[in-house]
């Protein structure tokens, strides 16, 4: 196998079908970017799930003295020390409960400050405006309803909030988005593959003289097919490279420089998650077009 000969055949082939090659590169790049994006979105969901489900499942917010007028649940005034200890012992008795933590108003204030920083709203708050709450961790996050029925009507309880319920809708949204990305990816990939098949057909036709002679003088079918497969593989690899650039810049510009600034409660996937996807994206970018070309050749190139 003479490398120089093969390389020159490939570069001639790529240039001959420049527009086609471009179309292949772009469609491969888009489909693989969507592929990587959907993988990352799944990973984001599972990181977030782990993060949030680990922290807290259900919050029981207790009445403070300010709520007495505004909230009918707290019409009897602020929660008393007896009510609090009763709730706590009852909670700890329940089999679904894993851990119970009590958050004082001061702590709530501190957390709030941490989350919202120096915004004017945070400045106007004082610790005694914050609510005390029980943070309940469940053995099974799905059993939230049990806590809600048991405690929401209790005196001194303002509200029982299942945070996982809020999160679940977010997770669902993300899952739907990643499925949508996968679906789009499948479509784009189909487009890419059809383009590759067509490119191979055109270039097999335009090179039929060469390939015919190669066949006659006894070039091996591998040798004859190589330039076509390499062409597709190189275009695919360039597309895969572009997809990697898209993913990295997506992580940098969208996640790090925008989303992470806007939403501080979520910890987003790190660089390692992105970087570990890149080899996969490149490998798919290289192999899929090469395989498509290989199968197209069986149809369009007699060997």
């Amino acid at each position: 196998m003479r490398a120089q000969f093969v390389l020159s055949e490939i570069s001639v082939g790529l240039r001959r079908n420049l527009t086609m090659t471009f179309a292949v590169i772009i469609s491969v790049a888009l489909s693989l970017a969507l592929f990587g994006g959907s993988l990352l979105m799944r990973e984001q969901v599972s990181t977030m799930k782990g993060f949030w489900y680990d922290k807290v499942n259900v919050s029981i917010f207790l009445c403070n003295k300010n709520d007495a007028e505004s909230d009918p649940n707290c019409a009897k005034g602020a929660v008393t020390a007896d009510q609090k200890s009763e709730i706590k012992t009852d909670l700890e008795k329940m089999p679904v409960v894993d851990q119970v933590a009590f958050e004082t108003a001061d702590e709530a204030y501190k957390h709030y400050k941490e989350q919202f920083g120096d915004s004017p709203l945070a400045d106007s708050l004082t610790p005694d405006q914050m609510q005390e709450s029980f943070r309940v961790k469940l053995k099974d996050p799905e059993k939230y309803e049990v806590i809600k029925t048991a405690f929401s009507a209790r005196p001194g309880v303002q509200a029982v909030e299942d945070q996982s319920e809020v999160l679940d809708s977010l997770f669902n949204l993300l899952n739907v988005m990643s499925l949508a990305a996968l679906f789009l990816m499948a479509l784009m990939l189909l487009v890419a593959l059809m383009l590759i098949v067509n490119t191979v057909r055109v270039s097999a036709f335009s090179r039929r003289r060469e390939t015919g002679i190669m066949r006659l003088v006894g070039a091996s079918s591998f040798y004859i097919q190589m330039p076509f497969i390499m062409e597709a593989a190189i275009a695919g690899l360039i597309g895969g490279g572009l997809a990697c650039v898209l993913l990295v810049s997506g992580k940098y510009f969208v996640v790090n420089n925008w989303l992470a600034q806007q939403i501080s409660l979520i910890n987003f996937i790190g660089w390692d998650a992105v970087l570990t996807k890149l080899p996969l994206v490149l490998a798919v970018g290289l192999l899929m077009p090469a395989l498509a070309a290989f199968f197209a050749l069986r149809k369009y190139l007699k060997v």
């Binding site: 002679i213 003088v217 079918s221």
Partner: protein, 229 residues
């Protein structure tokens, strides 16, 4: 060298066979003309030799191999021992004469040094010495066919298959090409040539095999083109 045992070939979707029950043997070093009108099965005969097609019935042996049993991946190896020349030359128009001949060696992975040495030699042999750098378009038809013969012969094949090599050439040029093929034949290479050129066949007085509607109707040593012409 070549043996056909009761060979028939029917192409898919066709009822009339292109070759019917052809049996013959061609020895090493022979020069054989294959004659017959268009559609008589000459091309099919040659395609079977090249293993472009497989026989529907019977066995085709070329260079000691049963082509029907030869697996696909071994076919290129087999074709390297054959040389092929066509009516339309089949040269690459964007490569020089030298590159066209070298192409045949490059694609079977011959080392560069050997190519550089062999190509001028074989061009000399076909009478095109020093024309390595010309483009095929600059050459006459006869010269282009010589390039094609050089390419076919550069591997020193045991068998040279020529499909109407003089079909596009004037009589005088054709004589030159025939002299060249005769010279190649004298080096020990078996030559099988399909042709419509009565004059050439009658002049050369070589073995003539005539096909008609797929049947072998005449096999004559030192034969002529046909009785009725």
């Amino acid at each position: 060298m070549i043996r056909f045992d009761n060979v028939s070939k029917t192409y898919p979707k066709q009822t009339r066979p292109a070759l019917r029950d052809v049996s013959l043997e061609i020895e090493k070093g022979e020069f054989v003309f294959l004659v017959g009108s268009s559609g008589s099965g000459k091309s099919t005969f040659l395609r079977l030799l090249l293993r472009e097609e497989r026989a529907s019935h019977g066995a085709v042996h070329v260079l000691g191999k049963d082509l029907g049993r030869l697996s696909n991946w071994k076919v290129p190896q087999m074709r390297r021992q054959l040389g092929t020349v066509f009516q339309d030359f089949r040269l690459l128009p964007n490569k020089t004469v030298g590159e066209n001949v070298a192409f045949a060696l490059e694609v079977i992975g011959k080392p560069r040094g050997q190519i550089r040495k062999t190509v001028p030699e074989v061009l000399d042999l076909v009478g095109l010495g020093g024309k390595d750098d010309r483009m095929p378009g600059e050459l006459s038809g006869g010269e282009q066919q010589r390039v094609a013969i050089a390419r076919a012969f550069v591997n020193r094949p045991m068998l040279l298959i020529a499909d109407e090599p003089t079909g596009n050439l004037d009589p005088q040029t054709s004589v030159g090409i025939m002299k060249l093929l005769d010279r190649i034949n004298r080096t020990g290479t078996t030559v099988v040539m399909a042709t419509h050129d009565q004059q050439i066949v009658d002049q050369m007085r070589k073995r003539v095999i005539e096909l008609e509607k797929g049947r072998l109707v005449r096999d004559q040593s030192r034969g002529v083109y046909g009785y009725q012409h």
